[in-house]
Symmetry: D2
């Protein structure tokens, strides 16, 4: 069995990693760290895991122990992987970082959005952006992978075919995104209370959100030029799920948008291009490592609308992290990721 560690496992991406890895045929979780919950059994904090991991308790982070793993996931706030990744990499341990620490190639831009100096700019060269649908081969060789954010995953997968083919105006892209509340994490904040967030909907960060530069970077890579993006995230009264509604202006008459998308993702096990006319529901991917897409062209005009749904905790975080692990270790890509979504 492959030994893995998880740093900072008390949040939602941590417990989701544990849930997914419980079904992984080749991986065993050897260590999971948490300063705040050191000594607590994971099944105390997450009773859904009772019967699995019964001997696994959170421990204080210990570099020695983590370095003994084949790979270590960081399910931490930004900054933590900056501090620890270097040592692990030196000792030969692969690092899969679910935080934002290594997603931006430009450390200055990182500093701008996170309000502090980048903690490990020397590692940026070897960091691979872990979107397998773009970087599969590089991920296979990588020692350090930055798992994409949830919004960036949903938005990029929905726009890549259009930008790679140069079909839409790259200066004027709109991504209207709706997320369930687990996107805000497990922190105890008043706006995330059921009494506050249920039976309501609101936008947030309409004037600027930390996922914006990550999305722009990815879209620019696809377009081969900088892009202009308006990105408005919304908080939606559901636990899991992201629905990205993407708007682009066609600058050339395309042959067949549906076929374009189907070709682009033909060999992708975790992207599902739905039939023409579809409206994917977020629940159709709940718990599964999938992005489902549908393409519309209202009134046969020059606006193309792409609907893209993921489970923010799976394809938007922990599932994609496991996919990266599988690639890095030469395992079957679907290992641990082949269960259907749960519905209803």
């Amino acid at each position: 069995m492959i030994k893995v560690g998880i740093v900072g496992g008390t949040g939602y991406t941590g417990v989701e990693l544990l849930r997914l890895l419980a079904c992984h045929p080749h991986v065993a979780v050897d260590v999971i760290t948490s300063r705040s919950e050191a000594g607590t059994y994971v099944s105390e904090l997450y009773p859904n895991l009772r019967g699995h991991y019964d001997d696994l308790a959170f421990s204080e982070p210990d570099a020695e122990q983590l370095a003994s793993c084949d790979a270590v996931f960081f399910a931490t706030p930004h900054g933590v992987a900056h501090a620890l990744a270097g040592e692990l990499l030196e000792r030969g341990t692969r690092v899969i970082d679910l935080s934002a620490d290594f997603r931006l190639r430009d450390s200055d831009e990182w500093s701008h959005w996170y309000g502090e100096p980048h903690g490990a700019p020397e590692l940026l060269d070897q960091a691979v952006y872990g979107l397998p649908e773009v970087n599969r081969e590089r991920i296979r060789q990588a020692r350090l992978v930055a798992v994409p954010g949830c919004y960036p995953t949903a938005v990029q997968l929905g726009l890549l075919p259009l930008l790679e083919a140069g079909l839409i105006d790259a200066d004027r892209i709109i991504a209207d995104c709706k997320s369930g509340v687990t996107g805000a994490g497990r922190g105890a904040k008043v706006p995330s209370l059921l009494a506050e967030a249920s039976e309501s909907m609101k936008a947030y960060g309409a004037s600027g959100h930390r996922h914006l530069p990550e999305i722009r970077q990815g879209l620019a890579d696809a377009a081969g030029r900088p892009v202009g993006l308006t990105f408005v995230p919304h908080l939606t009264p559901m636990i899991r799920g992201i629905h990205a509604t993407l708007y682009g202006r066609l600058t050339t008459e395309p042959d067949d948008l549906q076929a374009l998308f189907e070709r682009r993702f033909a060999n992708e096990p975790f992207v599902d291009v739905m039939p023409p006319g579809s409206h994917p529901e977020t629940r159709s991917v709940k718990g599964a490592n999938l992005c489902r897409l549908a393409i519309h062209r209202p009134g046969d005009g020059d606006t193309v609308v792409v609907l893209s749904v993921i489970d923010n905790l799976v394809k938007g975080a922990s599932g994609q992290a496991v996919h990266n692990l599988n690639l890095m270790l030469g395992l079957d890509e679907l290992a641990g990721l082949d269960a259907p979504a749960i519905m209803p």
Copy 2:
């Protein structure tokens, strides 16, 4: 007391009319009709009304009885008001139609979207579109008012100031709208079940929705020219509420968008322009006849984003209908409509 009737009162807009009118100081509901529930007391169908309207039962529609009212609301599927409005108007009864029957001025366009001939084209001349923020004076004189749809209300109020001032590209407007499930009515349909619609989100009608021509008509009036609009509605897991996120491209450098909106709605009792940087929540208008707006300009670029929230059953339907009644009858505009939203 002013006597009013309600045709087709078993749906959500019907019960919401009853709830609002229970607090109206000058209005008494004299008759409420329903073919399917004739003989049932309203408080049997809607136990929230027990203690109010205890003697009021649904009855078979009777033109005589309806004509004895000062005003009659139609809370019916499309087509019903076409059949009955003419007779009521002839007998001197005011008609306030919450359905789509008289919203479009062009009967051909109506036929196109509803798939049948317009049933009362001869009445279109006297029908007034009941958006008080645009047509207040005409409503005061009207005998037949078409209450705007829920999406059209939220979208128009958010875009009117920009279009009237000629600030945005009228050819390329995007309205990304999210609605609670009462927008789909009280019909027993599988997709509206809690087990289907909860914990999920999806777009629908991305390639064309019946509210599109109504919105285009209103926006064109404001712009003084035809507009190009992409309108994508989404189903959101909440009971009430619409959140419209509106995107326009500035074609000229505006002075002060916030001030523009504040001026435009300075005397409007039911439109609230929130402070700069706000993100209105739909729950902040739950149960209240209000539209709250916020204006954003991300990154000081040329895209303006307007956030517009209403309660689809109140400002998007029954509350706006009562507002029209107040105007038509020369009552205080706020009569029956002055209670705060319920929150949490």
Copy 3:
């Protein structure tokens, strides 16, 4: 206008008081205090109140200013009314306490459940338990009213007729209660997050809850003897509402339970005995100061089941507080409390 003050107005019972009082014809809120939010306008914290109370801001508690009010509500954690009520009463201001400070007549029992000495035992003599259906006349004369808790209100109203008539075994009563999450307050706690509390249900405090002695005290008064009560509260994924399911064993064959309940509450404006066979829904009282009851006797056996629903923030807190205010000041009991529940 009657001048009232609110101490500790940032929680859910505070904002609900403001919502209800905004529609009260005879009351004006003169002062609202909060140490943590001093200086903040109430409409900033609660945007549903924009357009109402526009000049009202939270202020530091000031005894002078509070004493200038005709009545002061305490919407505070326990202990605060202990400290301030005495001074206000001395200066002639009526006190309506929504906290638990004066609900138990026995200060030792209070200390036992709250883990600290009772802070104002000298006031207990004049404190009246504010359940109007039991103590209406005493409330009219009272200067200090302890508004009942939410669970105690729902449970007592459902059991009073049976205990007063001596029909059930008072040693073995079961109250299985389900509450929405606002019952847990507006504190930022992980278990109250939407991501934790939604799509789930659980009991809590099964081995003992602070509302138990209050309920026992009220039931014992009704029975004229001590009672044995098993009380299990549950957290339910909804914002508002309490559903109490009450089980008693009939010790004598009753004449007509339905008639008994109807007689007992015949003149009560805020208790609704539903027709035989009914199953009241919590939403039928959402936002309204009502308790709806239904009585069942499954299989005509000797177990009686009473279903009792309230809105925990209205009949279970702020609405009942306003009812008490109306009684204390000789106003119409329904003043400010006559709007129907909001449904759906």
Copy 4:
């Protein structure tokens, strides 16, 4: 691979069977029938299954084809298995019936509750009640299994240890049960709409519910005598989950209730007795074939309270059906049933 068929696969228990069997290492679904959806691919109706079962479409029921399977599940309304089971059994196919057709041993009682004659009384002798924690050995030998209902599973597992040990008054048991809305099936009914069932709670069937005789039969078996049971189910605003709160009066001083339960279920892979003081959440079993239990004795009195949670679609239906299949076919009991619950 073992070939199975599913009769009536369009409901929630049908899709849940498909979800679980997709992860079963030894089973392939060969045929799934539906009269209303014949010709539709399962992944059209249930997009969560896209990528699984891509060639599987609903077909008209065909006895020949069904009889070619090793086992056939009935996920049908009552009456269907009555009509078809006999022929399948004769041809040597095992039958696992998720409906109520073979749960009651007494065909008269069945007729009483279902209002029609029992359709296959001659098969009752060979029908085994499929609660593995009671009938494991008989299930291993069975050709026809009646999978227990959801409420009956949660209630029986919570009470069996107490009744088998003769510790509680069997004449006076109370089961207060709360269910998510999938318990009401996928039928399009107004009360199950999100707009009706969300943000609310209600009891139903307080005077009698079809699961009552099934529960009584099972409890009587455990007690070795008839039992008196009051059973009140409630509808709760969540998709999945049952929470049973069970009340019994101790008639003898027990040694150690916690130890009693732990011993009783020590070898049961799908029953989890939680530590003393626990309050199991329904979400802790979401998607998993588990019943979690906690035992309380409030105030050390003579009332014992058992909290029992299951996922109504898994341990309360399809998961338990797969467990029965595993037993009948001599497979590992955990095959297809070992994934953790999904949380949050």
